[in-house]
Each structure stands twice: as C-alpha cells, then as structure tokens.
Amino acid sequence: MGTVRIATVGAGVMGLSTAVCISQLVPRCSITVISEQFTPETTSDVAAGMLIPPVYPDTPIHKQKQWFKETFDHLFAIANSAEAEDAGVLLVSGWQIFRSIPTEEVPFWADVVLGFRKMTEDELKKFPQHVFGQAFTTLKCEGPAYLPWLEKRLKGSGGLILTRRIEDLWELHQSFDIVVNCSGLGSRQLAGDLKIFPVRGQVLKVQAPWVKHFIRDGSGLTYIYPGISNVTLGGTRQKGDWNLSPDAEISKGILSRCCALEPSLHGACDIREKVGLRPSRPGVRLEKELLAQGSRRLPVVHHYGHGSGGIAMHWGTALEAARLVSECAQALRTPVPKSKL
C-alpha cells in the first residue's frame, strides 16, 4: 500500500489537532478533514478554553494527568513564542475559590500549571463568601484563533479540508483507508454511542478589558475568564439539554453571579450570548474499532467525549489518537500472509 488515505470526521479542536498530529507522526499518508461545521461555528469556538481540567470518572488519573501535561507543554511553548497572538494562546493568572473546604485541596494538575499555591487570608478577603482558594497561572487557548491556526498548519503539510455532513462512517469506505471519528456529540449517530450526551453551557462574552485575572468558583458553575479580545462569563451545566438558543433569564443569572464575584463587571458592555453543548461522557473514548460489513473492513479510531475538558486535554489525546492511527496504518501496510498454515 502506498499512501494511506486518512479521513478525520469533525473540525473542532479534536478533529483539527488530531489531523495535525497524524501529519507529524504517520509517514506517507494523506489527511482530509471532513466536517459539517467549521470555526467559528463549532463547540470549541464557544468554550473559553481555560486549561483547568475536569475529572473523568472512567479514566485513570495518571492518564488524565499525562494528557493535561502534554497539552499544557504544547500550548506553553506557543504562548512563549511569536505565534501566541495568531494561535490565540495566552498566560492568565487567577484564583479558584470555594465556599467550603474541598476534599481535595491540591488537585492532580497542581504541578502542571504554574506557581500553584493556596490563597492567603488577605487574598481571600476579596471573596467574603468563600473560605478557601487556590492561586495559579495557567493557559487559555481560544478556539476562534486556535482552530484557524491548526487549519493553516494542516494545509501547510498538505492536508485537505472538506465541508460535508457525514450520516454514516461507511460513506467514507470507498475513498479512505482509515477514519478518525472526532465528531463529538455526532457519535451518538455515527458510532451508535448512547453514552455520550450534551451538557449545555451558556456563556456571555463581554468587553471588560480591565479584568486581568480569572476567577472560578470551585463548583465550576460560575467563572470569569479574561481572554484576548473579550471576557467569558459563565455558566451553566444542563445535562441532556440540546437547545442551542441562548436563554435571556440564564444570561441575567450569569451576569449577576459574576458581578457578585467581580463587581467591576457592572461596567461590562457589548454583551454577547453563546451556547455550546459539551460532548460529555464518563470517559474519553480513545480506541480503535474495526468496522465490518460483509467483506468490507473499515478501521476507525474513535477520539471523542471530552465533555468540559476538550481544550484542556486535546493535544495529549490527539497524540494518542495519532499513535492509534499509526498502528492502523502499519497494520494496513503489513502484508497479510496468504496461507493459513
């Protein structure tokens, strides 16, 4: 077999980063990213992109830490390079605050982020409703800039991009040798996976350039994330809710909760509402599957289900997905013995 033809379904952060990783890892292959939606219409474009990872109950902690560290290191290098602005990556410091002492005062990712420590009494005075806090410096990776940056890198290495809605992975069998499924919630249909469900998140993107720190309530429900050209205020976690239209009452609630943490936000203006559906799953699905239909075979690498930790984990899981693709490609290149003896 000469060139291995690889199709990646989905052009959110998973699809694009996996395609880039594959182009770096797998020799003699062609990569085509096929998606219905592209930036700025993907879920990755709504996410604030803060590198504060969630915990996946079904994934071993050491694996999560590895994925997070690989993502952090990858973005840290970009943040300190001349490409930071183009790639939409920046360093942000701030505080995660709790209304009651958390069971885990030091999370698994404490030594991956920079300068992690407990907040001092003086620092906590700013948040009279909260009794405990963590101060650290982490990264923010913004979809609307990062996705085009990934696309550019992909095209630079010869990758192709196609706009098309895929209803069934077998549609790709004719033209491709390996399919990488990064379709997020689309996997309910494309992979028949009922374990994946939306967790609706509504956010506000506002102008408040004087806010230089992130503030996150430990519950994860209220947060203020300053970015390059706006501040993301959030949020909600609505399980099983597929509604993509913003809700005005919810927006009022978000603004009110965030102003309680940071009163200067009363002066925020140019408020825009956004909704994203987190592709949630008890664990990330990162595995090979050989689809079979009669005599047809289609190797698939599944890479989806990151819930609220997509940006935070993307590069680590993309590297692993690329390794799985590489295994598939090697298997395709290895001649099958003709005799069964």
């Binding site: 602005e85 920046l90 360093l91 004087w210 002066g267």
Partner: protein, 347 residues
C-alpha cells in the same frame, strides 16, 4: 479659608480631594482652587504606566514606606466597588526578574501573594535566573486624573489654566494656604538643587493577550533602565528609559529602539503588536519627597505653603499617603488659626 493647589497631576488633584473630603464640613467655608499650566492628558502622570510598585530598596525617609502602604490599602479598598474601572484601577499580577538572587523587597507583605518564581516560570525568561511573582494594582494615570477631576468638580473645586510665576503672586491674590504640587517643575517657583528630571520614554501598544506585568532589573544600570512591560486597561506600556538631567520633551529614536528591542527580547509575542502611541515624561526625582510646611511673609500676612513634590517614579504608588500627610499638616494650620468648628482628634 482659601486653598490654592498648584499642579494638576496625581499629587495636586489627590491632595486637593483629600483636603476637601476631610475639612469641607468642619470649616465655615473652604474654597479650593487648582492652578496648573498642564492638565490631563498633558501631565507627567498621564505618561506613567501606573503600576503600584515602590523602588526595591528602603527609602531614606521611613515615612515614605508608610505612605506607600497607605496608598496600596486605600486603592485596595476600592477594589470590589463597581466604579473601580472608572478610577482606572484594577488588580494585576506579574513578574519581577533579576539576573541573580536578591533580598525580598520591604513591601512584600503589602502586595498580595508575594512569592519567588518557580524554575518553570523562569524558563519563560532565559535572560533571567531569579524573580518574584505578586499581585499588585494598576492605577492608570489618565483615567485616575479624569476621575479625580470629576470628584473635585462635583465638590465645587475650580480649575484654572494658569502659569504661576511665584508663590507671592498667589498669596497676594487668592490664598491662605498654598499646596505646592508642581512636580518636576518645582524649581521654577523655588530653587531646589535636589530636584532633577528623570526622563522616561514609553511606547503604548495594542497587545491584549498580555495580562501580566514584567519588570526586569539590572542593578548595574539602575531603576527603570531595564525593559518593563505593564498592561493597562486598554493598551500595554513598554518602557525602560531613565535619564537623569535630560529635559528633552521629544521622543528619541534611540530610546524607541532600546525600548522596542528590550521588550521584544523579553516577550517575543510583542513583535507584531501595533503601536498606539509614544510619549516622554519627566519623573520628579529627589533623594526623598519634599513634604513640609513653609511660611511665607507676604506684605502683612502669613501664607502657608505646604510642599508636596519630588515623588520620582513612584508618584502613583505613594500619592494617597502623601495627600493624607498634607491634610494632617493642613489640619494643624487650621487648629493654629482657630478655624475648626470641630476638633480634628478623630483624624
């Protein structure tokens, strides 16, 4: 009681406000006017990046340390008010970088969360091997002066565009007490060999991804002569120029290059940042702040002058503590003249 404040930079306006706040209700009548040749945006305060940070070494006058701390605490008490951003005030965190280990600064417990930099943080700055991280405050000169002007105007304080040639001229016409906040130009009213301009030049750029201040230090070259990057509310200030005795008000191309190269080396992400403006200012450098009372004999009456100038590169950092001190001296003058309706013991 007629007070004339000469100077409309941060020192003049904050002192005027402090005095009016404290004495307006305890005096039969208090008339405060501000005379200045330059108002915002043409003052030196407007050029300052506005980061609260004193010099690293202990001041020769220990009161200055106390005034710095009072200013920080005063500003911090406004954080949490919805108007903080209108004042030009916001918390900001960042890095102080050194080429070798140095002792902690005397103000380490004034700022928030002071700590040493970790090795991974230092990896971001290959030219430096030691440093601090802390949370401090930005008080943007221009915004703050606008805010002070609004507060003073609400209180009926008048502003006059006027070049004052002498204290006597002001004493003769209008004032019982003169507050001298003329900054780097104080020498024109009364020679002061201890006062010198510390010329600074800064470049303001659009770099909204910069959320931290980065201040480098080179003990051999001296304060402010090493690159610094300080994000403001809208733009980011790049600097690193300090020239004692230089009165040139125009931007200098070599200084521009020094700043640009130094800051881009420190922070490569800046290389494509758009330049918004470039300006020059004069830090009113003095071995210590001149904050003291002086009596003028003009004709048959005594006019009090309270000097409040010479705040070097830490005017915004120290301004409120000095304003409080001037207010204290002013209170003493009122007591001496039996002008107070109520005792000042509560101050």
């Amino acid at each position: 009681m007629r007070v004339v404040v000469i100077g409309a930079g941060v020192i003049g306006l904050s002192t005027a406000l402090c005095i009016h706040e404290r004495y307006h209700s305890v005096l039969q009548s208090l008339d405060v006017k501000v005379y200045a040749e330059r108002f915002t945006p043409l003052t030196n305060t407007d050029v300052a990046a506005g980061l609260w940070q004193p010099y690293l070494s202990k001041p020769s006058n220990p009161q200055e340390a106390r005034w710095n701390q009072q200013t920080f605490n005063y500003l911090l008490s406004h954080i949490g008010s919805p108007n903080a951003a209108d004042m030009g005030l916001a918390p900001v965190s960042g890095y102080n970088l050194f080429r070798e280990a140095v002792p902690d600064p005397y103000w380490k417990d004034v700022v928030l969360g002071f700590r040493k930099l970790t090795p991974r943080e230092l990896d971001m700055f290959p030219d430096y091997s030691y440093g601090w991280f802390n949370t401090s405050l930005i008080l943007e000169g221009r915004k703050y002066l606008q805010w002070l002007t609004e507060r003073l105007t609400e209180r009926g304080v008048k502003f006059l565009l006027r070049k004052v040639e002498s204290f006597e001229e002001v004493a003769r016409g209008d004032a019982d007490v003169i507050i001298n906040c003329t900054g780097v130009w104080a020498g024109a009213l009364q020679p002061d060999p201890l006062l010198q301009p510390g010329r600074g030049q800064i470049i303001k750029v659009d770099a909204p991804w910069m959320k931290h201040f980065i201040i480098t230090h080179d003990p051999e070259r001296g304060i402010y002569k090493s690159p610094y990057i300080i994000p403001g509310i809208q733009a980011v200030t790049l600097g690193g120029i300090f020239q004692l005795g230089n009165w040139s008000e125009t931007n200098n191309i070599q200084d521009h290059n020094t700043i640009w190269e130094g800051c881009c080396r420190l922070e490569p992400t800046l290389k494509d940042a758009k330049i918004v403006s470039e300006c020059t200012g004069f830090r009113p450098v003095r071995p210590q702040v001149r904050l003291e009372r002086e009596q003028l004999h003009v004709g048959s009456s005594n006019t009090e002058v309270i000097h409040n100038y010479g705040h070097g590169g830490y005017g915004l950092t120290i301004h409120w503590g000095c304003a409080l001190e001037v207010a204290k001296i002013f209170g003493k003058i009122l007591e001496e003249r039996n002008l107070l309706r109520m005792p000042t013991s509560h101050l």
